[in-house]
Symmetry: C2
Subunit: 292 residues, 2 copies
């Protein structure tokens, strides 16, 4: 595995944006972060976050909300940002992601509203009752192994245990290892609990930072699978709070769904760093579009 | 107590907006929903939600995010809305609230991004592991009694128990009764737990609806008080998911803070209706601005 640093990685390259006018950025949505044909929502959020980080005077996303409007496709895209307010410690901005139809008309993919700050400038006090999730050691968790060319993931079955189906291109970008207690769905035996947990890293070894946390909160399989639902669970809205700059090393992610009602469910994610700090909290509202 | 209905209440009158141009609404921020001099953020959210409900083709807020930019003051205000996307079952819009400085210049107070739908059209399936909070009966909880003129609340001490200090105008609009286990702060003995729970209603008896839930999620005292913090806890961002149309009758609200770090904390609120349905979930990111 190549050793890469922040700024020099698949994630950084694929979320890069180029300013083409004040507040306007050209981007290319990579095929490397797709699940079947859908571009991962967390990847899109990170890309938008990078554009806003350039447009706003503060470096770090503190709270970012995205409403997903239409399905993004790999290829060219444009991010337009708006600086709403800049203050001494916080600044707020909005952003829109658009792509173009065959006839050249614009199609809006997502809309983002975010407040940025400087995590390094915050006092170091912590008072928390939150506890890291209980996840078995990395080597006892289940993952997908990237193919050599990283074009797509090949399901892996270590120790004869079941591999995770449905892996696609994004599997080659992630070093994801799921708690076996939350992958019953992969062998037709979902637990019935709305839980998904695992270890998260980037496959090329890039360490986490506030921007990559925006990807992390939406990169695990949906909890709906463990609830026994089959189908799609498209995100309507996702809000992520980045609470601390993550330490280098692997992250742990725990996602919980408590309430499925009227064809909607919430997914609450927590991300913990290698120093047992709660570094991000997110909640999304998703629709359940079932197949029989 | 006067018997009022939805559409005919203090809440409806004070959140009313008048369309002055396509997508633009005049409003008057009422003095009746202030805490000391600050206009309550939940009240503002409901007012913005009403404007968006007029601008969008779907009636009910499903997920609403607000970023609070500057402190609103009672008086005239203008809401400008933008319809971002209208679909068959969901529509998405943005809104901004502005007021005017003495020199006539505009000051933006808050920015909102929201997706609306039709709660009555959703299937009636529910699968939930969420349980209503354990709150003592209404008559054993502690509240504030409105003054006859409703201009401000007079702290009440039933049975000799402590009243809740800091009550101001909004106390006259709400029928709020807090779980005694979460009001230790009022007598200088905070529990140290980031919890606040209670019964919630509108003082004039108006039943809850999806719009009033936007007020409900931000109407209790801050959990920071029970953590022993003294000062202000201004909301940076609040996101509310409305999950079901509430049944008539009193609501129960439970708010939890798990993580205080770097001068920020989250407040997670759940709202339950009289039929034991989880009708709203919210999370806000707030700053702690302490006084010694």
């Amino acid at each position: 595995m190549a050793s890469v640093t922040v700024g020099n990685s698949e994630f950084d390259r694929d979320t890069a944006v180029t300013r083409s006018a004040p507040g306007v950025y050209d981007a290319h949505l990579s095929e490397g972060w797709t699940i079947i044909n859908a571009v991962n929502g967390g990847y899109l959020l990170a890309l938008m976050g990078r554009a806003l980080g350039d447009a706003l005077p503060h470096p770090d996303p503190l709270t970012v909300t995205a409403h997903y409007l239409t399905a993004s496709v790999p290829g060219p895209a444009v991010v337009r940002t708006e600086v709403i307010r800049t203050g001494r410690t916080l600044s707020t901005g909005a952003a829109t992601l658009v792509q173009f139809a065959d006839d050249g008309s614009e199609v809006e993919r997502m809309r983002v509203l975010a407040t940025y700050g400087d995590l390094a400038a915050l006092p170091d006090d912590v008072r928390t009752t939150a506890k890291p999730p209980a996840i078995p050691p990395y080597e006892h968790c289940l993952g997908t192994s990237p193919t050599p060319e990283r074009g797509g993931g090949t399901p892996m079955a270590p120790d004869g245990r079941p591999a995770i189906p449905g892996s696609t291109a994004i599997a080659g970008r992630l070093d994801l290892r799921l708690d076996p207690a939350t992958v019953g769905w992969a062998v037709g035996a979902p637990s019935g609990k709305g839980e998904m947990r695992g270890w998260f890293g980037l496959a090329d070894g890039r360490d986490p930072d506030p921007l990559s946390l925006l990807l992390t909160v939406d990169a695990l399989p949906p909890t709906a699978f463990e609830l026994g639902l089959r189908g799609w669970v498209p995100t309507v809205e996702l809000t992520c709070h980045v609470r601390h700059r993550p330490a280098p090393g692997p992250l742990r992610v725990a996602i919980t769904t408590r309430n499925l009602a009227g064809g909607f469910l919430e997914e609450d994610a927590e991300v913990w760093d290698s120093e047992d700090r709660l570094v991000a909290q997110s909640r999304q509202l998703a629709r359940t579009i079932l197949v029989q």
